[in-house]
Amino acid sequence: MKVYRLIYNSFIWGMLVSILAFQNTWLEMRMNIGIIIPIFMALFLAVGILLEKAGKEQLLSLSKEFTIINVLACTGMSLLVLGFQRIKVVPASIVREGLKLTNISFDTMNIVLLILVFGGVILSCFGRGKIEMNNVKNVFKGGSGKVLGILIIVCLYFFVPPINSFVNNAVNVLKTVDVQSAKEYILSFGIWAPVVSFLLMILQSVLFPLPAFIITFANAGLFGWVNGAILSWTSAMAGAALCYFIAKFLGRNAVEKLTSKTALKNVDDFFDKYGKYAVLIARLLPFISFDIVSYAAGLTSMSFWSFFVATGIGQLPATIIYSYIGGMLTGSAKTFVTGLLILFAVSTLIILLKKIWTDKKKIIV
């Protein structure tokens, strides 16, 4: 069954890679893309045999749970890349061309592929042991699960044009650190503006140097300070959860690449000092990076729900204040000036608090 799952999973990967290669017109016009599938299968079989001879077969041990998740993920990716119209043609044409079976219709080939893919999943479920939810969770903790997860995200960015252009445009807008640009960008999506704002907040959580307060101000300006605060709070919670799980999933090395070694080390010290209250305190201190705290929490043994509740409570005051200020900045000239003065005062207070905090740490040391 292990050999079968290896062959089957490599067939699925070969199919996905050939679909991605098909997207390149230059390649598609010049080669038989279908040849990628048997190459992948042969390659993984060879690697499996070599690992077994070296006594390290567990490195490529693919469980039932992994197989099911792999098939679902690769099928989902293929659908995203090709769309509903092209998925009825492209995989069938790839296999048809690969096998030189030029007389087979797409309908027949699609039936064969459906039998292979879903029949293969069903066959994978046979074998010792039931499908356990713990094993499903463990899939993403294992090496192959991590590789699959990263591959999915990379492929989504590079091969799904709407995702690629959304991410590129969003990063360009956030890099300008301009509230008006952010507002115009979010508003350009019409009825989907709140959803886009939500996604932007999540994006800025992962891409550490992009500022969240721009989106908070923009939300307040677009939707009013109350609705803006609700939107900013919920999307920041989602972003925090994502960072937590990225850290849990990928580990410290990856988090250091997404943030910085120094910043992470500083927050480590904070966590060492304040233990389980670290997240709550960090959220209340506006000069401590929201995103780094989320990543750092994921690297500790802190449970997700403790982290989530502490984040929810801790970030509430800052969200309300920023949203209120952001709302004032879009009002009349008088409220605009008042808002600016409050913003100046809050910024000064933050700088002052940071200085007091830093000095206090030095004295204690």
Partner: protein, 209 residues
């Protein structure tokens, strides 16, 4: 291991069964694949519709069986490109032979005698201009020319019979688009006009008077 072998055997059987299921419709294999009519100055060639290019872009209109680009064209021709070239000479067409491989990136147009090209299939009862079976991101009226290019065709072995932009390898190509146009212009088979994938059609090349 027994389980794996039995599954692989099932796979081979499944593929073998489906390979035996021919889905081509239209005329039977006893029809000649290339018919020359010197009086009408026309050549008829049977071909098969490739439905892949209803949704994917290509620059190949008709490619001959055995050519490396056989699976890359809207219509997969049943005759080979050398026989096709000779048939064009037989009906009195004159090749342009004005393009070299170096011209493929220079935006040059193919020359040679003009050909009116049509497509028909069983039950249609009429001839459809080749222009109508192709859609393009930059539509222009088709101007098919006898480019010649026999030596390039033999050297490259692509099997190209009709290219949708000017070409130094295709026996005939479309002078409406210069060489290299297909890097920006997208050509597709028109699924609203052509029959479904796998249908046998006849492509008629008629020397323009």
């Amino acid at each position: 291991m027994k389980k794996v072998l039995s599954i692989l055997a099932m796979l081979v059987l499944l593929i073998g069964v489906t390979a035996g299921c021919s889905s081509t419709t239209g005329t039977t294999s006893t029809s000649k694949v290339l018919v020359t009519n010197k009086d009408k100055k026309e050549i008829s060639m049977t071909a098969t519709v490739n439905g892949k290019y209803f949704t994917e872009a290509t620059r190949h209109g008709v490619v001959a069986v055995g050519g490396s680009n056989y699976e890359k064209s809207v219509l997969k021709g049943d005759a080979n490109e050398v026989d096709f070239y000779n048939a064009l000479i037989e009906i009195g067409a004159k090749a342009g032979n004005n393009l070299t491989l170096a011209d493929m990136t220079k935006g040059v147009k193919v020359e040679g005698d003009k050909l009116n090209v049509f497509v028909t299939w069983d039950g249609l009862g009429k001839e459809i201009p080749f222009n109508d079976i192709i859609t393009s991101s930059d539509p222009r009226p088709m101007d098919i020319r006898f480019g010649g290019n026999l030596q390039n065709a033999k050297d490259k072995k692509t099997g190209c019979i009709l290219c949708l932009d000017s070409c130094a390898v295709g026996i005939t190509s479309n002078a409406s688009y210069e060489t290299g146009a297909s890097s920006t212009v997208k050509f597709y088979g028109n699924k609203d006009v052509l029959p479904k994938d796998g249908t046998k059609v006849t492509v008629i090349f008629r020397l323009a008077q």
